[in-house]
Every structure is written in structure tokens, then in C-alpha cells.
């Protein structure tokens, strides 16, 4: 037989036995104490790296979102400020205008009041003047009438004198 002639292809039972022992021993020992923990550590690390990469990506996205949000907020604030300024300006203008209007109307009212008062005072003064003139005239007339009775020439000078004495203020 071919197997008998070639010693190289004849398996020795000794090596078969010891190799089985060695291989199974290695398989059990390495499987339990080396391959399992090693593979677990490697896959754990890979998972850790994957997780941290995902986390970094998420953080980056979050950061971008935050930045966008910030920008949006800033833009909104700017807009608000602009409107606020505009409104304030408008309000102040309105207030100024209102104040002006009010001042004007007040002035007009005061002027009108003053005129009314002046007119009243004027009228009152005129009335008083008229009354005084009246009473003076009556007084003069009374005096004249009393003098007339005595002297005609004197009477005239007297009237003249009286007339001078009346000062229409």
C-alpha cells in the first residue's frame, strides 16, 4: 500500500494523541483566558470609539444648532432694538408735537383769557371813567349851577378852571 511505502504520510498515534491534547488544551485555556477577554476588549474599544465619534458629531451638530440659535436670537434682538428705537423716536416726536400743540393751545387760551380780562378791565375802567366823568360833570354842574347864580363872568372862568381841573386820565 502507498501509505506503507512512504513513511511521511503515516500518522504516528503518539503525535496524534499529544497534538489533540495540546490543541484542545490551548483551545480551552486561550479561549477562556485570552481570546474571549481580548475580543471583548477590542470590540468594547471599537464601540467606545464609535460612540465617542457619534457623540462628537452630535456635539458638533448641537453646537452648530446653538450657534444658529444664537445668531437668530441676535438678529431678533437687533430687530427689536431697531423697532424699539423707531418706536421711541416716534413716541418722542409725538410727545414733542403734542407738547407743542398743547403749548400752542395753552398760549392761545392764555392770550384769549388775557384779552377777555383786558377787555373786561378796559370796560370796567371805561365804565369807571364814565361814572367818574358823570359824577364830575354832575359835581361841576352843581358848582356851576351854584356860581351861575352869582356871577356870569366868573362863572365862565370857573367852568374853564373846572374843565382844566378835570383830567381824563
Amino acid at each position: 500500500m502507498f501509505l506503507e511505502i512512504n513513511p511521511l504520510v503515516l500518522p504516528d498515534i503518539g503525535l496524534v494523541f499529544w497534538n489533540t491534547v495540546a490543541f484542545l488544551g490551548l483551545l480551552v485555556v486561550l479561549g477562556k483566558f485570552a481570546w474571549k477577554p481580548m475580543l471583548k476588549a477590542i470590540s468594547d474599544r471599537e464601540k467606545g470609539i464609535e460612540d465617542s465619534l457619534a457623540k462628537a458629531d452630535k456635539m458638533k451638530a448641537d453646537l452648530t444648532a446653538m450657534q444658529n440659535e444664537n445668531e437668530a436670537l441676535l438678529a431678533k434682538a437687533r430687530e427689536e432694538r431697531a423697532t424699539l428705537i423707531k418706536e421711541a423716536k416716534e413716541a418722542s416726536e409725538k410727545m414733542i408735537a403734542e407738547a407743542k400743540d398743547k403749548a400752542k393751545s395753552e398760549y392761545e387760551r392764555i392770550v384769549a383769557d388775557a384779552q377777555v380780562a383786558i377787555n373786561q378791565q378796559k370796560n370796567a375802567a371805561l365804565t369807571e371813567v364814565k361814572n367818574q366823568v358823570g359824577s364830575l360833570v354832575v359835581e361841576v354842574a352843581e358848582k356851576v349851577l351854584r356860581r351861575e347864580l352869582t356871577n356870569k363872568a366868573e362863572q365862565e372862568t370857573y367852568i374853564k378852571q373846572l374843565a382844566d381841573g378835570v383830567k381824563l386820565n
Binding site: V9, I13, L15, A22, L30, M38
Partner: protein, 360 residues
Amino acid sequence: MVLQRLKPLLIVSFLSIFLLNATPLFANEKEAAAKEEGSFNVTQTILEHIKDDHSWHLWGHTSISLPVILYTPAGFEVFSSAKLIDEHHEPAVYKGNFNYKLVEGKAKILNAAGEVDVEASKKLWDFSITKNVASLFISVIVLLLVILTAAGAYKKTGITSAPKGLQSFMEPIVLFVRDEIALPNIGAKRYAKYMPFLLTIFFLILTNNFLGLIPIFPGGANVSGNIAFTMTLAVCVFIVVNLSSNKNYWEHIFWMPGMHWSMKLFLAPIELIGVFNKPISLMIRLFANITAGHILVLSLVCLIFIFKTVYAAAVAVPFVIFIFLIELLVAFLQAYIFTMLTAMYIGMASEEGHHDQAHH
């Protein structure tokens, strides 16, 4: 791969050259010529180097004696291999329960007349720690030391730090086995279960391939080029493949779906042969490739002794170095191929049949 295919051819051509040269020398009086001073039997020298031995030859007449463990109908017997060799380094008779003698390197039982008792020798089981077994044990110790140290580093440094030292040497290889061998062939769902098996096979073959390439003591044994070694691994692969097989796999073997019934009958025996053929091809591939490499290197070294001039070394040594470099590649390649095919067979046996469900 091309080199791989070419190598057996190269060896055959090398060997035929040697045999052609050697035959006229030794054809007539082979025994006498081999013992003659100065003559040199290439085939015998090479075979002695790649075969297993009961003692570990170091240099000259110095060798390490290894324990011989024999099991006979009379029970176990353990003694030193030195007792099977006399002071002239020739096989000697050792008287234990029986009379033992090494014939062509194998322990045999002698009868009263001093001849090999064939019947009794058949009942002799040799569990000796031979050179190959010792080398295998050395590789196991090396593997345990290296791999357990590397695995321990994960516990020490945790998973957050980058691998250091041995760990960073081992991790790429482990990742290679996982990502290039197990994952693509077995699939992400089931690969994890087979990783320890594949890794152990890969590293055991790789270590023994490399140890076999070292020409001096801790190496030099041809373990992974020994049929017993490759057969054991192939049997383990056969068992694992068949344990992981499912209904779909066996259906494809005995009753190929989507075929005419006559074709099914025709294919069944072929597929059944394939079940056994796969591990056998694993066994022969590793054995032949590693043994071929050893024969090639030894043949080139023997050139010096054939031409009986030191100047032959000028040709032989560069060639030997070149072949050694190729052997380094082959050592890795064969470990890879063995593991990859194992993974592929496991993947084929445990593949789920949804692909074929569509045909029904």
C-alpha cells in the same frame, strides 16, 4: 499563490535531479554504499531531517534524550530514549516488558530471535514525547506566554489606551483573523462563536510553521509538516464543521434543491465525498506545503555535499536564503489558508437557506 502552485513542481524536479545523481551511486549496494566513508545518501538525509525522532539531535553526536512512552498489552512503560541507542549511536535493544528496538526510527518489539515481531508490534502504541511532540509543547508554551501576556495587557491598561508592546503585536493579527477570515466567511451573526477556535488554529499553525523554519534547537522539528499534526487539526475542523451544520446544508448535499431528480441522485454521492474531501484537502495542503519547503531547503544545502566542494555553497546558500524568505511567506500563508478555509467550511455548513427558498 503562483509560487505555492509551482513549489511542488520545483521539488519534484529538484528531487529527480538528486535521485538521478544518487541512483547510480547507491543502486547496486545501497546499504554498503550508505555506510561507506565519504558517501552521502541525499534522500535518507533529507527524510531523517523531516521525519519525527525519539531524540532531538543538536549537533555532531550530541542529542537530547526524550522520554519514550510505550503502551503494550503488558501496560505502560516509560524510559529514556538514550536506552534505545548504544555508544556507537546505533539502535540498541532495550529490555522492558518486551525487547524494544528502533527500526527506521519507530519502536518495534523484537522476538526471542532478535527479529521484529510484526504481530506484537501491531499491539504497541507509541505515545513517546518525540522531537515533534517536544517541539509542539514548546510552541504551546510560547503561545501561552505570548497570548496570555497580551490578553493580560487589556486588563491592566484598560480599553481606553492604545495597545502597547506584545499587545500591539497581537492585536493586528487577531483583528486580521476576525475581519479578513471569520467575518466575511461566517457572517456577523455567528462568527463570534468560532473566533476562539479559528484563532487557536491560526496561531498554532503559524507558530509551528515558524518554529520549523528555525534550523537550531528550539526549532527545526517539522511539526506542521507532519501528517499526524495536520490530520488532528483536520479532524477537529471536520467535527466543528459538522457540529455547526444545519438542515439547509445537508439538504444541499443529499437533495440539491432546484435540480431535476436524476441530477439530485447524481450529485448526492459527489457532495457526500466533498464533506470528507474538505478536511482531507486541509490536511494534505498544510502537510505537503510545509514538508515541501523543508525538503527544498535541505536539498539546496545537500548540493554542497553532493558536489563535495565548499564552492557549491556560493550557489546553494543564496538559494537557501531565498527559499527561506519564501518559506516565511508560506508559513504565514498556509496558516491563513487553513484558517480561512476552515471559516469558509463553517460558513457553508451554517449558512441559512433564505437564498434558496425563493426557488421553491
